[in-house]
């Protein structure tokens, strides 16, 4: 069988290794799984078509996350949102503690919740997040601090937000 142009082993491995990472990042931006999966497909399509050269796995992962954020932003601007399910319905199956925290994070402005997601879930440093998002390190530090403070206010009667680390 002829292999479709561009779907080589590298792309296949990248999909298998990072599709969840990409989907979760898109979910943090778009707040629903259906649109996050659509964006995931588009991100790997871009990988396949552009076929950039990567210095390392970390470089590839950072590139995928950056493209995911750009595609998610374009997706929102286009108005082509598939899911109209309210967020609280999307997360009903989660244990209440997880539901509360995730709902609180997703209620933040995207400029706060993206650094929070990249810092607390992906484990990136502030400097790495700044490079991925094209921002200054001090700006990301400030946004993380503000995001934590807002979460603390939202969750003060529940689970207390994130500790300063």
């Amino acid at each position: 069988m002829n292999q479709p142009r561009g779907l080589n082993e590298f792309v296949r491995c990248a999909v298998e290794k990072y599709s969840k990472t990409v989907a979760k990042t898109a979910f943090a931006y778009l707040k629903n799984t259906a649109d996050a999966e659509d964006v995931t497909q588009e991100v790997f399509l871009t990988l396949m078509q552009k076929a950039p050269a990567f210095e390392s796995e970390e470089h590839l992962k950072a590139w995928l996350i950056r493209v995911t954020i750009n595609k998610s932003r374009d997706f929102l601007k286009s108005g082509w949102l598939k899911s109209r399910t309210p967020l609280y319905e999307e997360l009903l199956y989660l244990p209440s503690e997880q539901n509360d925290l995730l709902a609180a994070v997703l209620s933040l402005d995207v400029k706060y919740r993206l650094p929070i997601h990249l810092y607390y879930y992906e484990g990136y440093s502030i400097k790495e997040i700044a490079e991925i998002l094209g921002e200054r390190t001090t700006t990301i530090g400030t946004r993380l601090a503000r995001g934590r403070k807002i979460l603390k206010d939202i969750l003060k009667d529940k689970i207390g937000g994130f500790e300063d680390e």
Binding site: M48, L94, K111, I150, I159
Partner: protein, 263 residues
């Protein structure tokens, strides 16, 4: 502990059962359509449009070379500044540096002038740093009252804004300044430009005093704008002690208090 809860929550978000297979199937269904698009021959109409666009992109800057609305007498290199009516979508970057500052530091770390005034004019500008373009705006503010600085009531000052205004574009970290409109009254805390205030980019050096007398250090924390429907627009997270303020009078009392602290 809560980092673990967040991680568990994200890990438990339910995506399609075999997401990677879904993505691979999507990729395998795409190339044929995309290949056909790439291989399609351009029509004569398409070629004509492309030619016109290329002409506009490359030739108009040549015709306008040297055309600047500002004298730029101190600046160096091939830099030009023009007033513009339209700002492209690409003008989405802000150069603000939101280092965390306490309320005390916001008032006293830099020697900003502080005054109440009314916005009389706002005009967007395009800065061309030898081919690399940036968009900002210049506001003219008539001063009504001075709290700190050498200014005087009745004086009209020009202030460089860290973003273009009134374009409908949202630029990160400029929420307050982006809300500025002609006719608004506010309390402003700009820095007065001197010979250490310059912007170097692409082998050029623009002395900011060549285009405005003052500038805001960022688009969020150095202005308080009175709004008919929102009370006062300002960065409430940076000023938690007055986060509930709803009038410019409350802000004024706060400003006076903060300035008196260090006397």
């Amino acid at each position: 502990m809560n980092r673990d809860i967040y991680r568990a929550a994200i890990d438990n978000v339910q995506f399609s059962q075999d997401l990677s297979t879904k993505v691979l199937n999507y990729l395998m269904s795409q190339p044929q359509k995309r290949a056909m698009t790439i291989k399609a021959k351009p029509t004569i109409a398409t070629l004509a449009v492309v030619t016109c666009v290329l002409f506009l992109v490359f030739c108009i800057p040549l015709f306008s070379k040297g055309n600047s609305d500002f004298e730029l007498k101190n600046s160096r290199g091939n830099v030009r500044v023009k007033y513009v009516d339209n700002v492209p979508d690409s003008a989405l970057r802000s150069l603000s540096d939101l280092a965390w500052l306490t309320e005390e530091e916001l008032f006293h770390k830099r020697n900003t002038s502080i005054f109440k005034g009314t916005v009389e004019e706002i005009r967007n500008i395009r800065i061309d740093f030898n081919g690399s373009t940036e968009y900002r705006a210049i506001a003219k503010i008539k001063i009504d009252k001075v709290y700190r600085g050498d200014e005087s009531a009745g004086q009209v000052v020009s202030v460089l804004l860290p973003c273009p205004v009134g374009t409908g574009l949202w630029i990160e970290d400029t929420d307050v300044i982006s809300a500025m409109r002609v006719g608004m009254t506010g309390i402003f805390m700009p820095i007065k430009y001197d010979d250490t205030s310059y912007w170097e980019q692409n082998d050029t050096k623009l002395f900011l005093s060549d285009i405005a007398e003052y500038g805001f250090l960022d688009g969020m924390r150095y202005a308080f704008l009175a709004s008919d429907d929102k009370g006062v627009i300002f960065d409430r997270y940076s000023y938690p002690s007055i986060a509930a303020a709803n009038s410019l009078d409350e802000i004024e009392q706060y400003v006076v208090q903060m300035l008196n602290i260090n006397r």
